[in-house]
């Protein structure tokens, strides 16, 4: 049952629940330490924001696939499609409205809403036709590749331009110099976050923590329980009177919104959207690798998976040959799927949790005697 514990505010109570790993004091203690360290990292630990910012953005994308695949049981091999749509929307609106408004409120909103609407349409077709999970996974990948092919042939600025923005074919959205960074506020008090600077790091870190905590609440609410129920047995859930298709559509849209947010942030970060990088096969496979290796059935594990694997990937590509980096990534995926199919961080989390439980049990027994 997910009634919040007595004496605690309802919202805070939902942070902990059986759907998310880490309920102990140990977890929240180390969570606090990690958050503090993350905020201090650029100033004291020599972490370079222009490198790490990318990892944080990946965290949103990993969270999106984790709730869709891990919790909802719907695998999409084309989650980067929403990432790309969000990125392009952010760029197009940003280029057109920057001179008018001087902020990116609408661009960010569009970057989240447009993928969500697209997901609602495609999802409605797929879920109400009751397509098999394998079909959905494949169709999403093909849709993403379709976007890639479309964007690659939009080099002609006379045909493919929206206002001041030109889709630009394989060069990506142009004029790239006009793609704004994330900026909030009005008139003279606009806070702009350059994607290579430390400001963007604090902004995205705060947003990621907020989204993470918000999603924990969502997953431990009755919606989260329903999601897991549908993952485990859709027919039985339907017998209980729930509209399975509608809930699947809802989680599909939420996941698309998150991926769109990630795409918008990524466009704002590098002031650039490149069709092959956002819609291509490797963009899509990387999301699946992060989430599968980290642990798809837990939000924390998926986000940690994205950040660590991105970090490792960057280290492999900069210290060696990028081709080897991809082989290593694929190899890690296969090995983890064979040895610890639930994912590395869930595996470690369970071990740690058992150890912690044993030690606290020991302590309480000593106190009893």
């Amino acid at each position: 049952m997910n009634h919040p514990k007595a004496g605690i505010l309802g919202f805070v109570g939902l942070l902990n629940g059986p759907q998310t790993m880490g309920r102990s004091r140990l977890f929240w203690g180390s969570f606090a330490v990690v958050v503090v360290l993350a905020y201090l990292a650029p100033t004291y630990l020599g972490i370079k924001p222009y490198k790490v910012n990318e990892f944080l953005v990946s965290g949103f994308l990993a969270a999106s696939l984790s709730i869709l695949w891990g919790y909802g049981g719907i695998l999409s091999l084309g989650q980067a499609a929403f990432f790309g749509i969000g990125g392009y929307t952010f760029g197009v609106i940003g280029i057109n409205l920057w001179d008018l408004t001087g902020n990116t409120h609408l661009a960010l909103l569009g970057g989240i809403l447009v993928p969500t609407i697209f997901a609602a349409i495609v999802g409605a077709i797929m879920f109400f036709a009751r397509l098999k999970g394998v079909y959905i996974a494949i169709l999403m990948l093909v849709l993403s590749l379709l976007f890639e092919t479309f964007m690659l042939q939009t080099a002609d600025p006379d045909v493919y331009s929206i206002g001041k923005a030109m889709l630009g074919g394989s060069n990506g959205l142009r004029p790239a110099s006009d793609i704004p960074s994330a900026a909030f506020g009005w008139g003279d008090s606009v806070a702009e976050f350059n994607g290579r600077r430390v400001g963007f790091y604090y902004f995205v870190l705060t947003l990621l923590i907020a989204v993470y905590l918000g999603l924990r609440c969502l997953l431990n609410s009755s919606f989260g329980y329903l999601l897991v129920a549908i993952r485990e047995d859709p027919d039985r859930t339907a017998t209980f009177g729930y509209d399975v298709c509608l809930i699947q559509l809802a989680v599909f849209c939420i996941a698309a919104a998150l991926a769109g947010l990630a795409g918008s942030l990524d466009t704002a970060r590098i002031n650039r959207v490149d069709p092959e990088l956002v819609f291509g096969v490797s963009a899509n496979i990387m999301v699946v690798i992060w989430v599968a290796v980290g642990g798809r059935k837990d939000l924390t594990a998926a986000i940690l998976g994205a950040i660590t694997l991105e970090w490792m990937f960057l280290w492999l590509t900069t210290s060696g040959n990028p081709e080897y980096a991809q082989i290593v990534m694929g190899g890690i995926l296969i090995l983890v799927m064979l040895i610890a199919p639930e994912g590395i961080f869930i595996f470690l989390g369970n071990r740690l949790g058992r150890l912690y439980a044993r030690s606290t049990a020991l302590v309480s027994r000593r106190e009893d005697t």
Partner: protein, 322 residues
């Protein structure tokens, strides 16, 4: 150009696109139909076939034997993949998708590291023989000399005349023969009987003394070998790179998904005939890209009407009329 020429041209393109779809999807659809696994490394098996073919031909092996080698090479690669990794994932369809995708990434990058970004491309067989239709000629099959005599200096043909390659027609014939062979294998041989029993009810088949684990391995190998043969045949028409297979896999996946898993032969034939038609029509009227879009739109539409794919639909009608 008169109507007859146009119709013939359309028919030729239809046959061409059907041949490409059959060849690129047949291996995938056997594996999907028998085990429910969509093998994301299918494109890489085709790529292995292409490399084997290219390597053999560069070393003086005749073309048909080189393509057979491609089938053997990819088949062995497939059996190794199945025994080492894929057999652990039969009960988890989504996980098998993910793990085969990982395999595909490793194989293609490995080939990139080992053999470099491209391989010396091959000459299309019979490329000097052309089938000409239309204009004043009507219908003719010409060798290089008479072709050169007919065309002007820059190789252009008189107005109204269209030329088609012979190799495309051979590809179509082989595609049809392969389907017929697979059908006969499944229908009349002992292996086919065992395979169908395993597909129908693996536990019962196992209880009756069929080694289902071996059946799975052989079926996977067979599908992989077909992928290799397709790759070998495509290698003669396209440039060969480590990501060679990716160009065909998206369409192959769509074909297989539309076909469904109830009966892979009827599914494959039905979906190839429909999707090939849509693709040819839209490509003719608009562009290659719109042809691809039309194919995917058609796939969505078909799945909306028949969620279990074309073969599931056919099986249902059969069951009803019985």
């Amino acid at each position: 150009m008169n109507l007859g020429t146009e119709l013939f041209g359309f028919a030729f393109q239809y046959i061409d696109s059907v041949a490409f779809l059959i060849l690129s999807a047949i291996g995938l659809s056997i594996i999907f139909g028998m085990m429910g696994v969509i093998n994301m490394a299918h494109g890489e098996l085709m790529m292995i076939g292409a490399y084997v073919t290219a390597y053999s031909i560069h070393n003086g092996v005749p073309v048909p034997i080189a393509i057979l080698f491609a089938g053997v090479g990819a088949g062995i690669a497939g059996i190794i993949m199945e025994r080492l990794i894929i057999r652990h994932f039969y009960k988890q369809l989504l996980s098998s998708l993910v793990v085969t995708w990982g395999i595909s990434m490793v194989i293609s990058q490995l080939f990139l590291v080992l053999f470099g970004p491209t391989m010396e491309s091959l000459r299309t067989p019979f490329s000097s023989i052309k089938i000409l239709i239309g204009g004043d000629i009507g219908f003719a099959i010409l060798g290089p000399k008479s072709f050169a005599a007919l065309a002007d200096a820059s190789g252009r043909l008189p107005s109204g005349v269209e030329s088609f390659g012979v190799y495309r027609i051979i590809m179509f014939v082989i595609a049809v023969l392969l389907i017929a062979a697979i059908w006969a294998l499944m229908r009349y041989t002992e292996f086919g009987g065992r395979a169908r029993a395993t597909m129908d009810n693996p536990k019962m088949a196992n209880a009756l003394g069929i080694n289902t684990s071996h059946i799975y391995a052989y079926t996977f190998g067979l599908g992989s070998a077909l992928a290799g043969i397709a790759g070998g045949m495509f290698a003669l028409t396209a440039s060969i790179t480590p990501f060679f297979g990716a160009a065909y896999t998206a369409k192959a996946f769509i074909t297989v998904v539309v076909g469904g898993s109830a009966n892979f032969i009827s599914g494959l034939v039905g979906s190839v005939l429909t999707l090939g038609g849509v693709q040819t029509l839209f490509t003719n009227i608009f562009s290659v890209y719109i042809g691809f879009v039309g194919m995917i739109a058609a796939a969505f539409l078909i799945l909306l009407l028949m969620p279990t794919g074309i073969s599931g639909f056919i099986e249902r009608i059969k069951a009803r009329t019985k």
